[in-house]
Structures are given as structure tokens and as C-alpha cells.
Symmetry: C2
Subunit: 457 residues, 2 copies
Amino acid sequence: MSIATALDALSLFLGQRLSRSKHDLDQHGASEAHYRAAPPDAVAYPTTTEEVAQIVRTCAEHDCPVIGYGAGTSLEGHTAAIRGGVTVDFAQMNKVLEVRPEDMTVTVQPGITRMTLNEELRATGLFFPVDPGADASIGGMAATRASGTTTVRYGTMRDNVLGLEAVLADGRVIRTGGQARKSSAGYDLTGLMVGSEGTLGLITELTLRLHGQPEAVSSGVCAFDSFEGAVQAVIETIQSGIPMARIEFVDADTARAFNLYAKMDLPETPHLMIEFHGSDAAVAEQSERFGEIAEANGGQGFRWSTKEEERRALWSLRHNAYYAIIGLEKGARGLVTDICVPISRLAEAVEETRADIAASSIQGPILGHVGDGNFHAILLVHPDRPGDLDEAKRLSHQMVERSLRLGGTCTGEHGIGIGKLDYMTAEHGPGWDVMGELKRALDPKGILNPGKVIRQN
Amino acid sequence: MSIATALDALSLFLGQRLSRSKHDLDQHGASEAHYRAAPPDAVAYPTTTEEVAQIVRTCAEHDCPVIGYGAGTSLEGHTAAIRGGVTVDFAQMNKVLEVRPEDMTVTVQPGITRMTLNEELRATGLFFPVDPGADASIGGMAATRASGTTTVRYGTMRDNVLGLEAVLADGRVIRTGGQARKSSAGYDLTGLMVGSEGTLGLITELTLRLHGQPEAVSSGVCAFDSFEGAVQAVIETIQSGIPMARIEFVDADTARAFNLYAKMDLPETPHLMIEFHGSDAAVAEQSERFGEIAEANGGQGFRWSTKEEERRALWSLRHNAYYAIIGLEKGARGLVTDICVPISRLAEAVEETRADIAASSIQGPILGHVGDGNFHAILLVHPDRPGDLDEAKRLSHQMVERSLRLGGTCTGEHGIGIGKLDYMTAEHGPGWDVMGELKRALDPKGILNPGKVIRQN
């Protein structure tokens, strides 16, 4: 009963698709964030659900940890093999299995990335809206309950996964949810798997809700005197029922970073970046009405456009914000924080965070998905200045404590992984114990992504 | 260790709020549907979460079943005390605790009904959209994952409960979710509780998403040559991204029932009833565009109006459909079926159901939430004709088998209760076992609403 025995058994049926090369192990044990590398003992590349089940059964027999792996873009150390074991990389399970245009659903394998999926959907007139920025895998996005810029209109992965297939810790294969758009038939196992970070099962197939590609899209950007004004504009827009497809906030420092990165001349003040989806008439009306609300709240120079080129430039800027920001200091990396508060407390949360960062020894521009109350500071850390990382961690910790005090959550969209475990008691109280009880019911040996999400024994 | 001992202990601290009157027991053991009465041994009326916890702790100590009870409008025998025990009636926990207009959320106790809640919200400019028809309690709606006419736009209870407080089987009180609009912090316990039908915990508080009362509402009705045409019109409308707030189908028999009930002269053919929410300009544009799509699919005489009086008349008709339909046969009651299929299979599912009913010995008009693929037949049953109920059950069984064959679910919105237990294996396979494992992890003694949702030992 050991990892070594498990690997011998696995290589018998996976052959070359069980890799033990140092390159593979290092790559799968590395983190996009600041976490210490934790390579697995082997990387498996299954091609079918049955193979995944066989891998898990074999690992269960030998008490060998099993860690699911998509595109490796997670930010909280979700894929770190902190107790060794086998990483199951879904790179070869990356197909679109079936598109149902009338149902506006698609069934995919977990390894497909969101951009590839949308490429494949292009001709159907449909698209998959969840957009966390990175070109993450759909399986990974479901496992971490990802969201992003379009959540204000289209929801998170929780809202867009209709059903899934998963391999449980004992190798059983279950199918949850289905093709129907809703159901009241028993416990919501789909919802339980979404956000469970590979600790309750490995997702091997997903059925997703799709949306019609909008007839027209308008995008715009607006400078504000103050962050409070920007937030107030967003609150009033939501309350007016004007359906924003994206509404993003960037602070003055981010505007400065954009100017340097893209040679622009934005006023170096807070900005909102906004998008509407609908008919030509609807997006025009919505843009105009948003402009009025923005102006009444100190917004200036709001311009909107339905031209694809201008829109692409705007969102490409937003999606490159990380690179623009780390470009502020040569050699810096970014530690990306992630909290989400009730929108009524957002202005307060951002202002206090700003003040903390200003009083610290490092820089940290702030930006976020303001319609959801979710924001990030990108804290600039120099690998050769050891104090930076500690300072960044201290600031991240302050942000989480503030979020919980204001009725928010320790993570809006990045997940728990190993990075946010310490906040689970404060956020959930006895609810965290319940998560552990569910985990032990479904994975009594604790082989699925050990050390993540739940309390460690 | 017995129910009697539990009742003695409960009456010590509940006093008059533990009722053992025959009237109370009969009322709480009765069913809105055709299920045999199953009265509890007592009815408790707690006023606080702590009292609920004390009730559950006492019952746990004595292995006494505990059944949650809201407005008693469930249709699948959810509240039947089939093993006796204590029914916990939330009638006295029916307050609005806090409205947060900027966050567009409200926190309520479970006993408040949806109509009362919306009355209390009226002045805020906000509303709670989930509308199952009956004036159900919010706690009960969450417990059964209710939905209804507005789901096509606003989602089900799954989408509109942000967080909750629940008392577990051992008396622990947990809080799930929160005030933030999204979170990636661990397992989705809110989603697990919603739809668990009181078998995992008793919901004692809920935080709900609210929506802005629309500036303008337009409603209309349209006759169709065929049901296929009506469904095709709905599919094309959804694919065009035209945001319908309600889209309801009624068949020719229902149109006939409406004519008799409300002295109208609708053509006795299939109809769609539709509603749009938005700005004046948006609802006008959407109504016109829907009219064009309807006409291209055999729709005739589509008229829409933004006048409140006309709109009220339309939806009052829809909400009284049950009474209009049972009015077709003097002395009849209705057995209401409930399936939900992928919308691509909806025309087929309805047509085959129509044919089955036509070939049967009873009548059964069909109507439903066509935007979700969810529909009901209201099967007319005479209490004094014993064959009717068997025939109705046979037809309901055929509908469920058809739904599962077409990739649908055995219940779109009514839940499992005791009525749909027999279909759980066919729908979920080993997923049903997993539900049982979760149940045993959280309620090892099986005291919470025994006999519902999960497999019985």
C-alpha cells in the first residue's frame, strides 16, 4: 500500500500516458502564484472516463492521492501535490461532444479551454459567457466555481453548468443534473461538485448553458472623480434594471499602468469599463442611459462604441491589466488578491484597501468586477526583495479580514486551494465542519486532492 | 426513547406552542394532492432559531421524526408525517428581517409567503420574482427548489437564495452563503440545502436576491395553429436573445376552460402568454419582435399591452388555470403532473402526452412554462370514480418515463416528496446512492423528514 505500488499498477494500463519525467512533474507541481512548488509522483493523461475511473480505483486501493489538473491557471495552489501522488491531466479529454443549438447547451470534456470552446461554437451563433480572464479549462473553471467579467449578466460556473459526470473517490461514475434547464429531483449534486476543487470527485464531462451571441454589443469607458461615484453609478444602473453584460472598475494606478503599457492618455483617475449586449436599439438606449447615470455621479467623457475594433481594444486592455500593472516595476511579479463584498460596502472596502496599500512598502493597483462586489489588488512583489512577499501576504490578509467584517467572502472567484484555508472557520463557522463531514462521506480515505478546501486532520 | 417522551419534553418548553389538537394534526397531515393523510403526533410553532434547534435536539435524543412545514401547498406529499413525529410549522417565523436596497437583497424568516414578501417590498422598488403560482412560504419554496412562470428570466430558488441559516439533525445551527453576490469559498452548502426538502436541515432564515421592479411591463397572448409552431416561436425568441420575463403555454383544452371560466372567446387552439420587463422602449421593441417571430410560426392575433389592468387580467387567468380546468367537469379534482424536458424535445413530449390522454378515460388539459421545457397536465379525477385516480397515475407515470427517455427530469418544480421516489434510480442511477450517503453523513438517525427524497432502508 504505497504510492510506488500505485504507480506500478497505473503504468500497466496507461503505458506512456503515465509520465514520470522531471519536466512533467515540475510543470504540474508549479503554481501560477507564489506557492511553493509541490510536484506529484506521476502525471496521468487519461483519454476516457473509464480510464479516469480505473486510475482512481487503483489509487484508492493503494491510498495514493489523486489531483485533477486542467490548464494550470489556478491562483491558490489548487493543483499542488502537497502529499505527492498522481496528477490527472485532462489535456487529452478536451473535445466538444455535442452542441444542441435548440436547447442552447453543449456537452464537453473537462480539458477544453474556454477560448477553444468559443472558437468551436462561433458558427452556431451561441457562446459560453463565463470569462475568468485566463484561458482556463472548463473542468478547472467548474472545480473552482470560476466567474469573471461577465458574471454580472450571465452568472458564475454555478449558474452555467447544467449537469456533469464525475468519478468519485471509490471509482464510481455518477451523472448529475441533465439536459433539462431545471429540475427539482433531489439534492443538487451538480452544485456540490462545482466549487469542490477536485476534493469530492474528478469531473469528466460537463453540460453547459450557452447564450445567443448578441446581435449588437456596445462598450465604453468612463473616468470618475472618485471611486464612490463610480460605485454609486453602478448601483443605480443595476437598480434601474439596465442589463450590463460587463462592468469593470479600475483605479487610478491601473489607469496609469494602462497609459504606460498601451501608450494611452486616460485621465489617471478611477474608471468604469462597461459593455451591453442586445439589439442595436437596446444597446444604444442602455449606453445612453448609463451615460446619464454616470454623469450624475461624477463620470466624465463617457464614450461608447459598437465597433468591434474599438471594443476589442478596450477588453484586451482589461485582460492585460495584470501585465500592464507588473510593468509598473521592472522585475516585479504580482500577487493577486480576491475578495467579494456586498455592493453596499464596496466603496468602503476599496477605499480602506487603498489606504492600507498606500501605507505599505509596496504598490498594488486595484481593479475588479464591480457589479458583483468582487475586486482584486495586484500587489507588486520583487522576487529578490524578501520583505515584499510578506508585505503582500499581510495586505491580502487585511483584505480578507475586512471582507468578512463587511459581510463578504474570503474569495469571490479564485477559490480556497491552500491559500485561503485559514479563513474557512471565520467565514463558515460550523458550516466548515459540515463540509468536512460531506468530504468524509464521499472520500473516507481522503485521496482526492488532499490538503485542499477542508480542515486537515 | 420514543415519540411520546419527545413530546413530553417539547411541551415543557413550548407550552401552548406545541399543539396536539386533532384539528391541527389533521390539517398538517393533509395533502394538497391525492396522497393519503399522514398526520404528525404534534405540531410545534417555534418563534426563534434557537427554539427550532432545541426542538431538533430534543427529537434527536428520542429518535422522533421532525417535519418542516410552510404554507402546506406542496404537491408531492412533502409534509406527510408518514412515520409520525413533530411537524415544525414556521407560521410564527414569518418576518422580513432586513431589506438592503443597495445590495438588492432581503433577509427573511422561512414562514413568510411570497405574496406577503412582495407586499412588504413594494415601496422599495424591488421585488422577489420566483412565482410558483400558489402563495407558498419562502422556506418551503427553497426546500423544494420551486420555480414557476418567471424562471425563464429570473431563475429558480437555486438562483435566488444567496444564503441561509439552517438547523441540522443534531441541532447545530449553520449559516451558508452570505451577503456577497458570489463566492468560491468551499462547497455550496446553500445549494445543497435548497431542494433537500427538509431532509438535511430545517431552514430558519434566508437571504434572497431581489430585482428592480421593471419600469415597464408588456404582456400579450397569441393563438397558434399548432403546438410545434408555438414551441418553435419560443426557441427562436430565446435564440434571438429577446429576454422574455414569462412565456407560458396553454393547450386548446385549457383555452376552452378559460372561455368557460372567464366568459371569454379565445380561439380554442394552443396559445402562448408572454411578458416582457424593461424600459418603455425595450418592452415595445421586444413585443414587436416577438410578434414577428410568432407570426412566422403560425401565431395569430398577437396583441400586447402595457396597461396594468389588461396584464392583471391575463395573469390572473393563467394563475386560475387549475380552477378553470377542474371547472370543466363538475365535482372533479385535478392531479397535477410535472415534467421538464430539453426544449428541443418539448413539442414531441407534449404531443405524445396529448395523445396518451386523448386515448385515456379522463380529460387532462396541458399547460406549462414553455421557456424552461417544463409542463403540467391537470388530470381530471372524480373522487367517486375510483378508476379515475388509477388512470391519472398511469398517465403521470407515462409522462415521467417519457421525460426521462427524452433527457428530462421526473420533476421540473414540484419536487420528489413521496410521489416521485420511484423514479430516482432511473433518473440518477448511482447519484441517488450518493444522495443517501450525504443524508446519512448529516442525519445518521434519519429523523429529518423521513421517507422523502432518498432511498428508504
